[in-house]
């Protein structure tokens, strides 16, 4: 059985609202994926099916860039597996929240797990609220936005013709930056964060593509933080 307050209607509502607040940050990426999908020749139905079931923009973009005729089943699957590896530690880090529900609510909510929803849910967890409904609401709100924007990008991409360097595409980076402020717990975060950024830059500089800069940076920073905390307690 669910814990009391483990998955509430109120939580879903607050999650949806949190997703709405970053609409501007979410929308450009959906547009780009919809436009790219149109360019490689996928139909609207295929585009929406892919976006609805995969719901992971970066991996979809990479898969679409290596699209061919017939469709690259193995290549696209591997691209999703490798690029979405970063979601593995996210699900693990959300365990204190996820442990409070089970069954379809648990495994269905995990199907909607994306970076921004994860970050918002961690901020909730740190504020002392452990409602899986919030994670579901945030993820579902982002999914709705994602589907709408992919459709708009596919249908009107040619008419919009936004250059890749248009400032509006900065919105998705800005959304992650703003959420990062919410994840800041104080001075103790400074060293792990600097190390994470430095290692990510070094790995990228060494010529490795996604997801390796993110994974190497994240584990270097988090590993250092855990080691330092362990020494302080000892």
């Amino acid at each position: 059985m669910d814990h009391a307050g483990g998955f509430t209607r109120n939580g879903i509502r607050r999650g949806l609202k949190a997703a709405m607040a970053i609409t501007l940050g979410l929308s450009p990426f959906g547009l780009v994926v919809g436009m790219t999908s149109d360019q490689v020749g996928l139909s609207l139905l295929e585009t929406l099916l892919m976006s609805g079931l995969v719901f992971a923009g970066t991996s979809q973009l990479v898969a679409l860039q290596l699209w061919s005729d017939p469709a690259p089943v193995l290549g696209a699957t591997l691209a999703c597996l490798v690029i979405n590896l970063r979601l593995l530690p996210m699900g693990a880090a959300l365990a204190p929240v996820l442990d409070r529900t089970r069954g379809l609510r648990l495994w269905g909510t995990l199907a909607l797990l994306v970076d921004n929803a994860f970050a918002l849910a961690i901020a909730e967890l740190r504020a002392g609220r452990r409602d899986v409904g919030f994670l579901f609401g945030a993820g579902f709100g982002m999914w709705l936005n994602w589907m709408a924007m992919c459709a708009v990008g596919h249908l009107f991409g040619n008419a919009l013709r936004l250059p890749a360097a248009h400032p509006v595409f900065f919105a998705s980076t800005a959304a992650v930056l703003a959420i990062l402020v919410q994840l800041w717990r104080g001075r103790a975060d400074l060293q792990p964060w600097i190390l994470a950024g430095a290692v990510a830059l070094a790995v990228q500089g060494a010529g490795l593509g996604a997801p390796w800069p993110v994974l190497a940076g994240a584990f270097a920073g988090a590993g250092f933080g855990a080691w330092r905390d362990g020494r302080r307690q000892a």
């Binding site: 970053i22 609409t23 017939p70 699900g91 365990a95 930056l177 792990p192 830059l201 584990f219």
Partner: protein, 102 residues
């Protein structure tokens, strides 16, 4: 409205791979009780993941994007309104480009 079988197969493969990544980390954690060091890492991972994602992206985008990023951080730290911070960052970058910088 076409749906080709090879495209459908690719989509299903992509969806299964993505779900494995979403659910896998938590599924493993339910079975195996992680040692304290791993639990400590999980506390630090959220912030570190996003910093490691942002640093290369901002470095590649150049200094106008970094300046706009600083605007986002300042507005968010001061006002704690996500929508406003995102808007401020996009506006800052737009103004910098308009001024012929970057």
């Amino acid at each position: 409205m076409t749906l080709r079988w090879d495209v459908l197969a690719a989509i299903i493969g992509m969806a299964l791979a993505s779900y494995l990544c979403r659910a896998g980390g938590y599924a493993v954690l339910r079975v195996i009780r992680p040692p304290p060091f791993v639990q400590g890492m999980l506390q630090h991972l959220p912030g570190c993941i996003f910093v490691a994602f942002l640093a290369p992206a901002l470095a590649a985008a150049g200094w106008p994007a970094m300046a706009a990023g600083a605007v986002v951080l300042l507005v968010q730290a001061a006002l704690r309104r996500l929508a406003l911070s995102i808007l401020a960052g996009v506006a800052a970058l737009w103004l910098l480009r308009l001024a012929g910088l970057g």
